[in-house]
């Protein structure tokens, strides 16, 4: 299922579609349409990094504004999805750096995140377990897992985070192991 999802996105947002976007007179409409399609995944990733819905929303919208500027000036974008995730990732990292030290931010959002769990399936112990499990991962491992969960291929994850495919698989394996052990 996940594989099918990846293929579909590649077809929709491949270089051919990018070219169409560039040529389109309704560039704004197309960017909005693209935003509506890709927003959930990007929001999830951004929220994971910055820990705030409002900030995440702002970062994702900023990324699409940048995309609009790029398409308007006919700039070349090879893979639109990894480009968008990369921009969101960079904006989010900058945002975290501006707000303060990374550790304190992470602790803050992890605490906040567990408080936001409203599902009846999770009791307080489970919330603490999740928070503890995520704390056990380092930043690279968390980001790799989150991007993979959003359906990005290893190549795309490597493109977003500046890693090789092999490194991505190593971080994913370590991340899963730590997460499982921590739970």
């Amino acid at each position: 299922m996940a594989q099918e999802h990846i293929l579909n996105l590649s077809q929709v947002f491949g270089s051919e579609q990018t070219e169409k976007l560039r040529r389109s007179q309704q560039l704004e409409d197309q960017v909005v349409e693209l935003y509506a399609t890709m927003r959930p995944g990007l929001m999830g990733f951004a929220y994971h990094v910055v820990g705030s819905t409002g900030d995440a929303e702002d970062l994702v919208q900023s990324a699409f504004l940048k995309l609009f500027d790029q398409l308007k000036r006919d700039a070349e974008i090879q893979n639109l999805r990894s480009w968008l995730y990369r921009v969101v990732h960079n904006l989010a990292i900058d945002h975290v750096r501006r707000k303060g030290s990374r550790e304190s931010i992470q602790a803050e959002w992890l605490a906040l995140r567990t408080e936001n769990v409203h599902s009846a399936e999770y009791d307080l112990i489970q919330k603490q377990q999740i928070a503890g499990s995520l704390k056990a991962l380092n930043e690279r491992e968390r980001h790799c897992l989150m991007l993979r969960a959003e359906g990005l291929s290893y190549v795309e994850i490597g493109d977003v985070l500046g890693l090789s495919q092999k490194s991505v698989s190593v971080y994913l394996a370590r991340g899963l192991k730590k997460f499982g052990v921590a739970r």
């Binding site: 927003r39 504004l65 409203h118 399936e121 999740i130 495919q165 698989s169 190593v170 899963l176 499982g180």
Partner: protein, 634 residues
């Protein structure tokens, strides 16, 4: 069974990373096939794969649980983004294009020519390299660092290109001065003249000190004359004797040449450096402390435009003095018969030591022009004295820098009384100054007077433009503006003669004022020529300030006089004309513009208020006159 065979029989288990990549089908195809085969047959790896899969599912559940539920907000967020994007699009349209965009736009203009160049890129590249080489080789445009050796080499080239050709001699005049650096006081010590022959290796040298001492000789090697030259020039009581002795012992010749400068600089042991100061290269060669000569540093100044040597200075360590040798002339002259006798082979030994002194053309200093001389502080002082005596306002009085470094004030005035005034004004000026001011009856044929030091300078405003006959003809009443003026001055009960007299006095005053305006503008222009930036480049700031003060004096006079003229003429001109004039005012520019305007106002005034000119369109001329006066007065 060795290890390799064991390895072939029992394939290794998949690593954690490979197992995750296998589940994600992210392994390369050969490894994928091998992994699939291994997991299919390996219980252990299949079990680990199940654990990994369970871990993935756990992580996805946890992630989903942590994400905020935003499904209800999704549509409103999209609409919000649509509005934000619309605002952004409008703002980006209004913004200036970014730098890359501007560069791209700018570059698009050159795409055509660039394509053509790229087609012939080898030729284009070769052309660029050649041009760059030419620029570097033959100009200093890219040379931000000045090399002392390079400057010296080029100065040497300049000198070798100015050797006297057949039928010519080279005359070099050097003025020697001592500058007290503490008080910035310059004391003239004397002058030296070198005349190099083209037909023989002989050099005629002549040195004259301000105290009256003189030496001259014709020598084969100029160093033979070093001792007497230095004795004469540096025999002043204030001069450091150890320095003189050292220079004499080294047979150093103060001819401001590259060769002698190299010798002088060679005694030093410090690190030479050069720098550019405006239009001059300065080459500094420091000496080691306690050098037996007492020299602290030598300095050579070279014209940055043509690499002609300008001056050479020796700075002493003890008394903090500067001995400055300034080239006042460096020119090729015809080899006359008298000069040929001085340089005649065989005659040298027979000639008495002072034979050449009988040659007036060698001993007599010649006037220099502005183009081949530099202004000195003394020249500024003399100009200032003449300025105070108003000798700069149209009189044929010129100030000549002479080849021996002295100054000559020469000219023609109307009367002996006026000459006395000028002489009296010049008495306060120190230094070597000669005054030759004639009255007309003393001149035989005019050959006593030198030509102006600047041949291109405008002629003295002679009597042709003067207002010698300014008083209007009372009876004839023929000046163009007579009727207007008469109507202006007429009052009931006044006799016609009285009104005409008022008209005449008015005309006389306005013509006199116009003439004065013109003379001040002429003086400004003359100052600009005499003390041009090229001539004053080496002057101290105080001297330059004096020149500027003189210029300001004239400008102030022009402004005052033209305002007086305007005040007088406005009631005559009437409201219509003055209203139109008020708007047509712009600032004055330079001496040329000033002089042109002053000339025009003088001509207009003469055409309107004297009988010496043809009648003109009076209303138009008067309006134009007021415009010009406004320009001059602004």
């Amino acid at each position: 069974m060795n290890a390799s065979r064991k390895h072939l029989l029992v394939p290794p288990h998949l690593s954690d990373a490979d197992l995750v990549a296998y589940l994600d089908e992210e392994l390369p195809r050969p490894e994928m096939d091998a992994a699939r085969s291994h997991v299919g047959s390996c219980w252990s790896c299949r079990s680990r794969a199940s654990e990994v899969q369970a871990g993935i599912e756990n992580f996805l559940r946890a992630r989903t649980a942590l994400l905020p539920d935003e499904s209800v907000l999704s549509e409103s967020r999209v609409e919000q983004f649509r509005q934000r994007l619309a605002r952004h699009a409008i703002a980006s349209e209004a913004e200036l294009p970014s730098l890359p965009e501007r560069l791209d736009h700018w570059g698009s203009r050159f795409r055509g020519p660039l394509a053509a160049i790229l087609q012939h890129r080898q030729v284009a590249l070769a052309s660029v390299v050649v041009v760059c080489l030419l620029v570097v080789m033959f100009t200093d445009s890219l040379n931000t660092r000045v090399s002392a050796d390079t400057v010296l080499l080029r100065a040497e080239n300049y000198e070798s290109s100015h050797l006297p050709e057949a039928g010519k001699v080279m005359r070099t005049s050097v003025r020697v001065a001592r500058v007290d650096r503490k008080n910035s006081v310059e004391q003239q010590l004397g002058t030296i003249t070198f005349v190099r022959d083209s037909a023989s290796p002989l050099v005629y040298v002549n040195a004259q000190s301000v105290s009256g001492g003189a030496e001259d000789a014709t020598v084969k090697d100029v160093r033979q004359a070093a001792e007497p030259l230095l004795h004469v020039l540096l025999s002043n009581g204030n001069v450091d004797s150890s320095l003189v002795q050292y220079l004499i012992s080294q047979q150093w010749v103060p001819d401001v040449s590259v060769a002698e400068f190299r010798r002088l600089a060679g005694w030093g042991s410090g690190e030479a450096f050069a720098r550019r100061q405006g239009g001059t290269f300065e080459l500094h060669y420091p000496f080691a402390a306690n050098h037996p000569s007492g020299i602290a540093e030598t300095l050579l100044r070279v014209n940055a435009r043509d690499y002609a040597l300008t001056s050479l200075s020796i700075f002493t360590a003890g008394d903090d003095n500067e001995y400055r040798f300034t080239r006042t002339s460096f020119s090729l002259e015809p080899r006359t018969v008298e000069l040929a006798r001085v340089f005649a082979p065989g005659e040298l030994s027979k000639a008495p030591p002072s034979a050449a002194r009988a040659l007036p053309e060698l001993n007599r200093p010649v006037p220099l022009s502005y183009s081949n001389s530099h202004a000195s502080e003394a020249e500024v002082s003399v100009a200032e004295a003449l300025h105070r005596a108003d000798a700069c306002l149209g009189e044929e009085i010129y100030l000549f820098p002479m080849s021996d470094g002295s100054l000559l004030v020469q000219g023609l005035v109307d009367s002996a009384a006026r000459r006395d005034v000028i002489r009296q004004a010049l008495k306060s000026v120190a230094g070597s100054l000669r005054v030759e001011v004639y009255v007309p009856r003393e001149l035989k044929n005019g050959s006593e007077l030198y030509k102006s030091p600047d041949p291109s300078v405008l002629e003295s405003p002679g009597e042709n433009s003067s207002a010698s006959a300014t008083l209007a003809d009372l009876a004839g009443a023929s000046i163009p503006l007579h009727e207007t003026l008469y109507a202006h001055f007429y009052k009931p009960g006044t006799s016609s003669d009285d009104v005409n007299k008022q008209v005449a006095l008015f005309s006389d005053e306005i013509v006199t004022l116009a003439r004065q305006t013109f003379l001040h503008a002429w003086a400004v222009k003359r100052l600009e020529r005499e003390f041009s930036p090229e001539r004053t480049s080496g002057l101290p700031a105080a001297a330059v300030q004096k020149v500027e003060q003189m210029r300001r004096d004239h400008s102030r006079w022009i402004s005052t006089i033209t305002h007086r003229e305007t005040d007088m003429l406005s009631p005559i001109a009437g409201q219509d004309i003055t209203a139109g004039v008020a708007q047509a005012v712009a600032g004055r520019e330079n001496g040329d513009t000033l002089l042109r305007l002053a000339q025009e106002q003088n001509d207009l005034v003469r055409s309107l208020f004297t009988t010496s000119q043809r009648s003109a369109e009076t209303a138009t001329s008067l309006a134009r006159l007021l415009v010009v006066l406004r320009h001059l007065g602004s």
